[in-house]
């Protein structure tokens, strides 16, 4: 990268000798040299490029803007250049340089950005309602034309998003039962109230823990899968292709997934109940010397069947929330790959939040109803 710039003064006139290479890599060096010129006193500048061996487009852009600056300051200049190639480069860059003022994106103030964000969120909410409306009308259509239910897709989804989740749900629930019992046992032992471990476990697991844990695992596992699958289908135009062929994506993709989860969620919660109670039973046996028989006897007396029903009853509601949010997020994917990741994250966060909100609501309702 050898290139240098010599500056010669002759009264109010000035000659710039560019030598060697003038490229991207020495523009800034020359620029600092040129900055030291004392412009007001100048009347004329000669720019001598005869000794230049190489000029790239960036450097010629720089030269063009330099001469323009001279023009603006009413300083005349002559370009001394024998090589046609260099002149061509200069002309080319001049032709394609940005003539108009740069489009500067208008700055948004803080208030404005808050407003924009809120409005966007509001539009997102409207979108979600539109989605629900479409879903509802498809459901009505389905009830009227019973034969168009997609049993095959539904069976496939039941296997994919519920049956295959059995293992992880069973394991998680078992561990949670173990942990809760272990912590409880420690406290109960100090009061000698060992047998009440059964009451504690039974009610908390059946009513709250199992449904919530199942919902969280399903949201993280199947809800996110829905978003990613449908998002990818959107990007590859598969959804558009379906529409043009007259296959309603709501009928083929959306409803089978939602129904599959709603049907299977109570079953999953039931499995989770069993596993968590087994976990608790083991701790009770080892830690508190409560035999399995004692545990089950107490369970029959202390735990009302309604607690089980309450837990299972929540299942379809949680499933509906998880599936609709997952699918809605998938449909909201834009035509770029980043948006799949973004929407998948959102889908999991939003569906877990929605499940917990819904659970809180149920809690209040059931308590007030005395259930």
């Amino acid at each position: 990268m050898s290139g240098n710039l010599e500056i010669k003064y002759k009264g109010t006139e000035l000659t710039l000798f560019f030598r060697g290479e003038f490229s991207l890599y020495n523009i800034s060096h020359f620029e600092t040299q040129l900055k030291t010129l004392n412009k007001p006193s100048l009347t004329h500048v000669d720019i001598d490029l005869n000794a230049l061996t190489y000029l790239d487009t960036s450097a010629s852009l720089f030269l063009n803007s330099f001469t323009k600056k001279l023009n603006k300051n009413n300083i005349s200049y002559t370009l001394i250049c024998g090589s046609k190639e260099l002149l061509d480069t200069l002309n080319l860059t001049d032709k394609y340089s940005n003539k108009n003022d740069n489009v500067i994106p208008s700055k948004t103030s803080f208030i404005e950005s808050i407003g924009k964000k809120s409005y966007d969120n509001f539009l997102g909410l409207l979108d979600f309602f539109a989605f629900l409306g479409k879903l509802f009308s498809t459901k009505i259509h389905l009830i009227r034309n019973f034969s168009s239910i997609r049993y095959k897709e539904m069976a496939f989804e039941i296997n994919e998003s519920a049956i295959k989740a059995l293992g992880i749900i069973a394991l998680t629930s078992f561990l949670i039962g173990l942990v809760v019992a272990y912590q409880g046992a420690y406290q109960l032992k100090t009061y000698g109230a060992n047998i009440f471990i059964v009451d504690m476990l039974g009610i908390s697991i059946l009513r709250e823990l199992s449904p919530i844990i199942t919902a969280i695992v399903i949201a993280g596992r199947s809800g996110s899968a829905y978003t990613a699958q449908i998002g990818a289908m959107k990007i590859t135009e598969e959804l558009d292709a379906m529409r043009t062929m007259g296959f309603d994506p709501y009928l083929f993709l959306v409803l089978p997934r939602i129904i599959a989860l709603m049907v299977m969620m109570p079953v999953l919660i039931f499995i989770s109940d069993i596993m968590a109670i087994i976990g608790g039973m083991i701790v009770a046996n080892v830690d508190l010397d409560i035999t399995v028989n004692m545990f089950l006897d107490r369970f029959l007396i202390a735990i009302d069947i309604k607690h089980f029903y309450v837990g299972v009853f929540k299942g379809p509601f949680f499933a509906f929330l998880i599936a609709t949010i997952g699918i809605y997020r998938g449909m909201a994917v834009k035509n770029d790959t980043q948006s799949i990741g973004f929407n998948t994250t959102k889908s999991v966060v939003e569906s877990i939040f929605a499940v917990i909100m819904c659970d809180a609501l149920f809690s209040i309702i059931f308590t007030n109803l005395g259930i």
Partner: protein, 244 residues
């Protein structure tokens, strides 16, 4: 008889006007080309014709149905009468090539399995794929094969009308010419009306009967290829300058 007519179409994305006062008319049996510079709204126009996108004003009539007032059932039956070939194929990734082609037949007809298999095999031959390719999944085949498979799927229900978005882009010149002659053959054999977007000059000259050039939100030329060289528009002059 005109199969598609577009009148006074206006399309807006937010505040950006894409089409304004756009008119065109596609007659039965034509191979009709949509041309124009990048971003002038050809794909958008095609998507509007197949009801994937809403427009803000004007009317589009396809096979006699007005898309503004079409009912759900009419729309469903309309969708069986056309085939659409997307730029990237858009094959269903969870189904094999043969299953992709068979899908429409399974859903919309009461043909038995054997008959469907036979039809699928025929379509596979028709577009120039090998029978063994039918077993492969979209992720296992090349770009050119995807286009052929997608064409076979679009042709599965013997549509009257075929929409193609840049059918030869991304193909090597030999495959591109093969695709052109395939389209001509289909046009001849099945009497298809074909609407296609293309940038491929060779394929434009070889296949199209009539073209429409979109520029500045409007159709600036509609007609046969013979008179196009006399047009004054910058795009047309530059585009057709290369004498083939």
């Amino acid at each position: 008889m005109s199969l598609i007519s577009v009148k006074n179409l206006e399309t807006k994305f937010d505040n950006r006007l894409i089409h304004e006062g756009l008119n065109l008319d596609i007659k039965e049996g034509e191979i009709y080309g949509l041309l124009g510079p990048s971003g002038c709204g050809k794909t958008t126009l095609l998507r509007e014709m197949v009801m994937l996108q809403k427009y803000s004003r004007g009317t589009i009539k396809v096979l006699g149905y007005d898309l503004n007032t079409i009912s759900h059932n009419q729309a469903q039956s309309l969708r069986r009468k056309w085939g659409v070939l997307f730029q990237a194929g858009a094959l269903f990734s969870s189904l094999s090539v043969a299953e992709n082609i068979a899908l429409g037949l399974q859903e919309y007809t009461d043909l038995n399995k054997k008959m469907i298999q036979e039809i699928v095999a025929f379509k596979i031959n028709l577009v120039g794929l090998k029978q063994s390719d039918g077993l492969l999944f979209p992720s296992q085949i090349s770009g050119g094969m995807k286009k052929k498979a997608a064409l076979a799927r679009a042709l599965a229900l013997d549509p009257k009308l075929l929409f193609l978005d840049e059918p030869t882009s991304g193909l090597d010149p030999i495959s591109a010419r093969e695709f052109d002659s395939l389209i001509l053959k289909l046009h001849e054999l099945l009497g298809l009306t074909i609407v296609m977007v293309s940038h491929d000059l060779k394929s434009i000259y070889d296949t199209l009967d009539k073209i429409a050039v979109i520029d500045n939100k409007k159709i600036i030329y509609e007609g046969s290829l013979n008179n196009i060289k006399n047009e004054k528009s910058e795009f047309i002059r530059t585009f057709f300058k290369a004498n083939l």
